[in-house]
């Protein structure tokens, strides 16, 4: 088998796993409904809590990422947990090599999180009056890199906890220390976007986020074989 055909086969397999999960999600609404309800409910509670008070833009930047973090925690573990619960993990073992499974699931989590974060941001910008973005380029880059980092870390952690008995509790508990550097950086970068900072002023934060992304994806790829094997 030539290198070209191997790469094409790998890409095709990864894409098929993503499409399978996406179509399955549209048919079963396994995670989507829970995620949408979580975002709507959490935002409503925040709006009620704020009432007529005007919170600072810095505080609201942090609150945005609280919503994003906890919506990721409620939805992104499904990529692997659903396979365990339905008993289809063995089937995946039989038809695909580990790297195809990992990157297919990563792609699914990434697209799912992009969709949910788009909804979150649109609602947040519309409904939270004191949260005004002055540097959209910084904000978009922050959301993009933050979403990618969140999806990457959540995917490998989901694979780890999928076999555990107390998955629901374990997922956020394991995720938080790993995601903490990402969260601190994206909150800071979001504050910069609210303050109207230039793109170059946020370059330091972007470098941290890109480095985080590369480290997490590389480590996950190397570890996944051991996590996936029984």
């Amino acid at each position: 088998m030539t290198a070209r055909s191997q790469i094409l086969g790998w890409t095709g397999g990864t894409w098929t796993i993503f499409v399978k999960d996406f179509r399955s999600e549209l048919r079963t609404r396994y995670a989507l409904n829970a995620l949408i309800m979580f975002v709507v409910t959490t935002l409503s509670i925040i709006l009620f809590a704020l009432g007529n008070e005007s919170a600072s833009a810095e505080l609201l930047s942090g609150v945005l990422w609280i919503i994003v973090f906890f919506s990721a925690m409620s939805g992104l573990s499904r990529a692997f947990v659903s396979e365990e619960e339905r008993g289809t993990v063995m089937t995946l073992h039989l038809i695909a090599r580990p790297s195809i499974v990992y990157f297919g699931k990563l792609l699914f989590n990434l697209i799912l999180l992009v969709m949910i974060n788009l909804l979150t941001v649109v609602l947040y910008l519309t409904l939270v009056t004191n949260f005004v973005i002055r540097s959209y380029d910084v904000f978009i880059m922050t959301m993009t890199l933050g979403t990618m980092g969140l999806a990457s870390a959540s995917t490998i952690i989901a694979a780890i906890i999928a076999k555990a008995n107390v998955k629901g509790t374990l997922f956020p508990v394991l995720s938080f220390p790993i995601l903490l550097p990402l969260l601190l950086t994206v909150i800071k970068a979001t504050q910069l976007s609210v303050d109207g900072a230039a793109f170059s002023q946020a370059a330091g934060e972007f470098r941290v986020l890109i480095s985080y992304l590369l480290v997490i994806i590389t480590t996950s790829y190397l570890l996944f074989d051991f996590v996936w094997k029984d």
Partner: protein, 209 residues
């Protein structure tokens, strides 16, 4: 695939300190079948999973060799077909969709006609568009055979092959087992003597407990 060999060397499996079996060794060449027998709890399914690389042995090795070269574990799935009652398919998809997904994930250059002929072979062509959720347990078992044979595996592993099947289904799998020995290697884990007709070697796991 005449150059195919499956070699198990002193395989041991323990769960939480309890040894299920140990020192299991065998060697299979092309056109050979291995029957794995034993009472309930002897480890038949466990050994079948180890051969399929679904489980790792506690000790010992299991190698699939092609022309003397060992196949890497991450490539074992290219050579193995596996059927078992506890194997699950994607119930929200139809039979056709399941096989199409497996075809694409495996990167197999096979046509829709091939998939249709497989479904006809296992007697599911009429229900190919129905979701697997609506299938009976016997129909699901037949679909598992279709998915296991999709890539024409040189090594076919069957755990309780006639589970949930009616007499017509049993005839189909008898034919599958005969054809598998004709072109490759067959491993059958079973309690039914009739399933061992294509097996030249038998391992009784009670001896290895």
């Amino acid at each position: 695939m005449d150059e195919l060999r499956v070699v198990g060397r002193k395989i041991k499996k323990s769960f939480s300190g309890r040894t299920i079996f140990s020192d299991v060794s065998f060697e299979l060449a092309c056109h050979e079948g291995l029957g794995v027998v034993g009472k309930n709890g002897a480890g038949k399914s466990t050994l079948a999973k180890i051969v399929a690389a679904l489980l790792s042995p506690t000790d010992g090795t299991i190698d699939v060799e092609v022309s003397g070269e060992k196949v890497a574990q991450w490539r074992r799935h290219e050579f193995v077909g596996f059927v078992a009652p506890y194997l699950q398919l994607y119930e929200e998809f139809s039979a056709w969709e399941n096989l199409d997904i497996f075809r694409r994930i495996r990167g197999l250059p096979i046509s829709d006609k091939h998939i249709l002929s497989l479904l006809e072979r296992v007697g599911l062509a009429l229900w190919k568009a129905d979701t697997v959720r609506t299938y009976s347990s016997g129909m699901k078992q037949r679909l598992k055979y279709a998915s296991a044979l999709l890539h024409q595996p040189p090594l076919l592993i069957l755990d309780e092959p006639r589970s949930n099947l009616d007499s017509e289904g049993i005839e189909i799998i008898n034919e599958i087992m005969e054809q598998q020995v004709d072109r490759g290697i067959l491993v059958v884990a079973t309690n039914e003597k009739e399933d061992l007709q294509s097996c030249q070697q038998i391992i009784d796991l009670e001896i290895y407990a």
